[in-house]
Amino acid sequence: MFTFFELPKASTIAASIDHLYDFVYWVSFVSFVGIVVACLYFIFRYHRSRSDPNKTPYIEGHHLSEIIISIILFIVVMIIFAWGWIDYKKIITTPLKPLEINITGKQWLWETEYQNGRRLTNELVVPLGQPVKLVMTSSDVLHSFFIPNFRLKQDVIPNQYTFLSFTAIKRGDHPVFCAEYCGTAHSKMLATVKVMEPVDYQKWQQEWEFKQRGGTPLEEVGASLFASKGCIACHTATDQKLVGPGMQGIYDHDVELVDGSKIKVDENYLRESLMEPQAKIVKGFAPVMPTFKGTLTDQEVGDLISYIKSLEK
């Protein structure tokens, strides 16, 4: 899992935290060695056997050196503080459009819940290189979701939500510990973060969704939606025109718009026509299509599009 002194840097923030760690390490090392060498030298040089106890100088102090030491130290600690705050800001600012996952800590296991309702215990699967935001709560006592390879942890509090965002940059399994004492099996409350390629992640989710739908392929779901959401009132599944164009073979072909411009019927066009139908009207059709924003979830829009794609010539 790691070498004798070094943890893998498995998240974007890990490197900068390690840099600050090294900076503070070397500042401490220098000041520590300075004091120890001074002490050892003084002990050796001014040992009783080498310096007469009654002839030691009467030195009351030296304010200047104290002030200088204080100022230097104050500057160094302010640098450490500022650097720490800048990196901390990166840790707590939520990335744009992250993959949001619910985490629930309960006495001695972690439950993850994805947006599509998929639930896992003691397992968190995330895509590589994409920002993830964990929204976490606990159902009994304090816990803390700690991923050492990401250098991140966040306490988990009952009846309150805390969040932790990261972007994983190293594939494979990363252990998760519970870092806030929570009772008997506190040390058994372990989980793993499995980081996959985004493509594998999509496949992993879609397989599950596929099974969750009781084994029917996307197209079939799209067909049932096409019927139940009322598309059949104006469109046919063949190329025969009704109020709107027939859907067969429409995918990936150019159509001419009312204003004369030509565009290709791709996923974005289909998605846009569902959400804002008036935006691009094909020549020869009335702008009568109602918007489906709000009535169709993203999931259903995706199913419909894959159904339309399946209606090849």
Binding site: F32, I43, N54, Y58, L73, I86, N159, A179, A185
Partner: protein, 531 residues
């Protein structure tokens, strides 16, 4: 003048029998009673720490998880509340504060005895909780687990609550004594630095301890009357408990370290026959540490769900503590310059204090920097940090103080050779034990784990072996200290040629300390040739 002192028997022989000890008003006897009581709790706490290290010797369960949790909780609670907070102020402070300012006794002797008995009642409640089955919430008693836990939380929190009042009354007693009972000619600026650190400690005791009183009181009410202000199930806020707890507990770690620093100022000057380097700087930095200690408690809660604004403020304020601490360490090191150094056991402990407390201090910087603390919080890095400051700092200071003042307290010299041997064991054992824990912490091993990944096994074994050496070191120390009580060499009045007032009177001192008003030296460290 010497034979006049023989007419007055010393405080140990002045009155005989248990009853004379139980109702004594003599600050020296009360100091000695505190010393033996707290050292007893140190042994109890130490045995628990050996149990913890035994469990962590190898991966895989040795004790039941619950037993382990009770062991580290009792180790923490007994060491903090029953040993390291009371010992230096109450034992050594009680004994030497009146003598060092030329007074006959503390301002309120009866209150002093009452504080000792309050301490006894509180501690027996804590030991009662231990015997009844122990507590498994960690010494921090974080809610809501401390509300849900079936272990004897009420007993131990009641003990801590009562102990708090003993701390407040001792602090109050010392502040009044220092203000009102100084011998004529003794001012705040020619009294020993040990008293400055006791003064700063007393300020913290009087101002911070009531808040742990109210925290434990509310925790007891939480369990008994279900008031729900810390219980999320009833709408309360567990982070508020952490604020309450740490508002006391961070100043409390300065109650622990400041007296240790005071002793180091005494020992380093005497054994290098040099005036302290920068008296005012060291004195004022004690007060500065006492004041800043009230502003920084939030750095224990960086990842607890505290607001980023709080994290910003607390991280920033925590950085200020580094400055006075660094001045003190710099001044002690500078005191050695052009001195005439004797490496007797007290000096060895003082130098190992310098060595270890510096490591403790600088590792605090890692934990004060916000982003690094997100990684290191609640890992073994934190455990190593506070053991370096508490044990490397306060206990080394305590051992320096005990050996430095042993001849004065009991009229017997400790065996010098055995002193050095036990110091070597403790020094080596301590560093082996806790340096490896820094690495464990950096590798992300969380605290309070009774079982861990095989990858952590190597360093944990090293740490457990080190803890054995510490155990041996302390065993040797206790043996020769008890041995010296009866058969140690007779101690002269001033074995180390110290200049502070306690070395002007006989060892052990007579019951009323001084036969006549003592001659106050121009400064407590009158060494060296002027000009």
């Amino acid at each position: 003048m010497a034979h006049a002192e023989h007419a007055h028997a010393n405080y140990l022989e002045a009155k005989k029998g248990i009853w004379s000890w139980l109702v004594t008003l003599d600050h020296k006897r009360i100091g000695v009673m505190y010393l033996w009581t707290t050292l007893f709790f140190f042994v109890v706490g130490g045995l628990f720490s050996l149990g913890v290290r035994l469990e962590l010797l190898k991966p895989g369960p040795l004790f039941q998880p619950d037993t382990y949790n009770k062991m580290f909780t009792m180790h923490g609670a007994i060491m903090v509340f029953l040993f390291i907070i009371p010992i230096i102020p109450a034992a050594l402070g009680n004994f030497f504060l009146p003598i060092m300012i030329g007074a006959k006794d503390v301002a309120f002797p009866r209150l002093n005895l009452l504080s000792y008995y309050i301490f006894l009642v509180g501690s027996s409640l804590a030991v009662g909780a231990l015997i009844a089955g122990g507590v498994d919430t960690g010494w921090t008693f974080y809610t809501p687990y401390s509300i849900r836990s079936a272990s004897h939380v009420i007993l131990i929190t009641l003990g801590v609550f009562i102990n708090g009042f003993s701390g407040i009354l001792t602090g109050l007693n010392f502040m009044v004594t220092l203000h009102k009972l100084k011998a004529p000619g003794m001012t705040f600026f020619n009294m020993p630095l040990f008293l400055w650190s006791i003064y700063a400690t007393a300020i913290i005791q009087v101002l911070a301890t009531p808040v742990v009183g109210i925290t434990t009181f509310l925790l007891i009410l939480e369990r008994v009357l279900k008031i729900g202000i810390f219980d999320p199930a009833l709408g309360g806020d567990p982070i508020l408990f952490q604020h309450f707890f740490w508002f006391y507990s961070h100043p409390a770690v300065y109650i622990m370290i400041l007296p240790g620093m005071g002793i180091i100022s005494e020992v380093v000057t005497v054994f290098s026959r040099k005036h302290i380097f920068g008296y005012k700087a060291v004195a004022y930095s004690s007060l500065a540490i006492a004041f800043i200690s009230f502003l920084v408690w939030g750095h224990h809660m960086f990842v607890s769900g505290q607001s980023p604004l709080s994290n910003f403020l607390f991280s920033w304020l925590t950085m200020f503590v580094a400055v006075p601490t660094a001045i003190k360490v710099y001044n002690w090191t500078a005191t050695l310059y052009r001195g005439s150094i004797v490496l007797a056991t007290p000096m060895l402990y003082a130098l190992s204090f310098l060595f270890m407390f510096t490591i403790g201090g600088v590792t605090g910087l890692f934990l004060a920097a916000l982003s690094v603390d997100v990684h290191l919080h609640d890992t073994y890095f934190v455990v190593a940090h506070f053991h370096y400051t508490m044990m490397g700092g306060t206990v080394m200071g305590l051992l320096a103080g005990i050996h430095y003042w042993w001849p004065k307290m009991f009229g017997r010299m400790y065996p010098e050779l055995w002193g050095k041997i036990s110091c070597a064991f403790i020094f080596v054992g301590f560093n082996v034990t806790f340096l490896s824990q820094f690495i464990l912490g950096k590798l992300g091993m969380p605290r309070r784990y009774h079982d861990y990944f095989p990858e952590y096994a190597g360093w944990n074994m090293v740490s457990s072996i080190g803890s054995l050496f510490i155990g041996i070191g302390f065993l040797i120390m206790f043996i020769y200290l008890f041995w010296s009580l009866k058969r140690g060499a007779k101690a002269p009045a001033n074995p180390w040629d110290g200049k502070t007032l306690e070395w002007q009177i006989s060892s052990p001192p007579i019951e009323h300390n001084f036969t006549k008003v003592p001659a106050i030296p121009a400064s407590p460290y009158e060494y060296g040739v002027k000009g």
